[in-house]
């Protein structure tokens, strides 16, 4: 893990990059990183996130600034701007079931080619996908998802990069921290090694490439 500034971290992300962003309706989202992505005007982003949050909050800021070219998410219903951009064909949107999204990312981070899930069988979600029967039950083959970057928000990060999360701000962060080539983390508190007990570390330090240093 290397501690760097917000500006340096975001400068690494090229326009058009694929980026996973943690958070659920803007809770547990690395807001400072997104503010800097907007400031550096990184366009054409291929965004993977649970939802589109709301205007002005979480990944909603990326839609406000028109920086997204493609979105993979489970829900965008609470962000009218993202909906407008989708209906106007300014962004391509893949809407996928939330559990399938979590498992596809988990698979991507765990070296699996995909997962077999019953979710979506017999619905429009199944279109174009392989259906596989196991012991008489139908499953869809859902392929793994990875990204060039994961932007993760933790509650505690220690000096080595071990991470712990708080309450419902954990959500997609630990799974995304496994599934990207470069993992960039903001934390509410940077603490000495040992403050997070070994049993309470959720994301192990070797997964973290960059931690945003305090100013």
């Amino acid at each position: 893990m290397k501690a760097i500034s917000l500006e340096e971290a975001v400068a690494m992300i090229p326009a058009g990059a694929s980026v996973m962003v943690g958070g659920f309706m803007g809770v547990g989202t690395p807001e400072r990183l997104l503010d800097e992505v907007v400031r550096q005007h990184k366009t054409g982003l291929v965004l993977i996130a649970n939802d589109a949050a709301t205007p002005g909050k979480g990944v909603g800021k990326l839609f406000d600034a028109g920086l997204v070219s493609r979105l993979t998410a489970s829900h965008i219903g609470l962000n009218p701007k993202a909906q407008q951009q989708m209906l106007a064909n300014q962004i391509a949107v893949d809407l996928i079931p939330q559990g399938t999204l979590a498992e596809r990312i988990r698979a991507g981070g765990c070296g699996l080619g995909g997962v077999l899930t019953p979710t979506g069988v017999g619905t429009t979600v199944a279109e174009g996908k392989r259906q596989i029967e196991i012991d008489g039950k139908a499953f869809l083959l859902e392929t793994a998802l990875r990204a060039q970057f994961a932007l993760v928000h933790a509650f505690l990060a220690d000096y080595l990069g071990n991470l712990a999360y708080a309450l419902t701000a954990r959500n997609f962060n630990p799974v995304m921290a496994m599934a990207a080539d470069t993992v960039i983390v903001t934390a509410e508190h940077i603490v000495p090694v040992g403050v997070i007990a070994p049993d309470h570390v959720v994301t192990p330090a070797p997964l973290v490439d960059y931690l945003i240093a305090n100013e």
Partner: protein, 216 residues
């Protein structure tokens, strides 16, 4: 008693001590207000919490403790938190005893459509497809009709949420079950007759010899 309270009270009577329960947005959320005091259930919020409590007192909200709609909630003693993969492992893995979801249409076989209206409302399915596919028991809590049109239909015209059928539908005027895979009138709301329910229901209902009144 208004329509939503009738639905909320009746659904709450389906819950049993020890159940792990996931409530959808809208009318289903109200169910938590009507759980009898002697019934102790665990409520899951799919953004990563078991042990969801009521809306916090004024000034007690925490920005990192929210429901699946991003609104502040509280956590009860014994609550636990987890990531999204675990949360949906619980849902798909059959560990959730009951899910209560809203509906746009339920058809005569029990298929549910509740996530999109093509060309009008395309919000995404969120967790609905996983919940219907994986929960042990699926209860739909919705108004019987919308804008004068029955939501209990012969065949869903809107995109299905799952190929798995639901177990029970509770509306403001009726409880409908699906024994033998056919929509069957199980109960009517107080003051509502069987004929009145049939008159506002598009789907053909099986009517048993006796149809008790809903206890709420």
């Amino acid at each position: 008693m208004d329509a939503q309270e009738i639905i909320g009270r009746r659904v709450a009577r389906e819950l049993r001590t020890g159940h792990l329960v996931n409530l959808g947005i809208g009318i289903p959320t109200l169910v938590a207000n009507y759980v009898p005091s002697d019934i102790k259930v665990f409520f899951q919020s799919e953004n990563g919490l078991i042990g969801t409590g009521p809306i916090p007192e004024q000034g007690m909200a925490h920005p990192l403790l929210t429901d699946a709609g991003g609104r502040p909630i509280s956590a009860l003693p014994g609550a636990c938190t987890f990531d999204s993969a675990m949360s949906f492992g619980l849902i798909r893995g059959g560990h959730v005893d009951v899910t209560v979801l809203g509906g746009l249409q339920v058809d005569a076989e029990g298929h549910l459509a509740n996530w999109m209206i093509p060309g009008k409302m395309v919000p995404g399915m969120g967790g609905a497809m996983d919940l219907v596919s994986g929960a042990k028991r699926v209860i739909v809590a919705m108004q019987h009709a919308a804008k004068g049109k029955s939501k209990i239909v012969s065949k869903c015209t809107l995109p299905l949420t799952s190929s798995r059928t639901v177990d029970l539908v509770v509306t403001d005027i009726a409880v409908i079950g699906f024994p033998d895979g056919k929509a069957t009138l199980m109960e009517t709301a107080p003051g509502v007759t069987v004929a009145e329910v049939m008159a506002v229901t598009e789907a053909e209902l099986v009517i048993p010899d006796t149809v008790p009144e809903m206890k709420i």
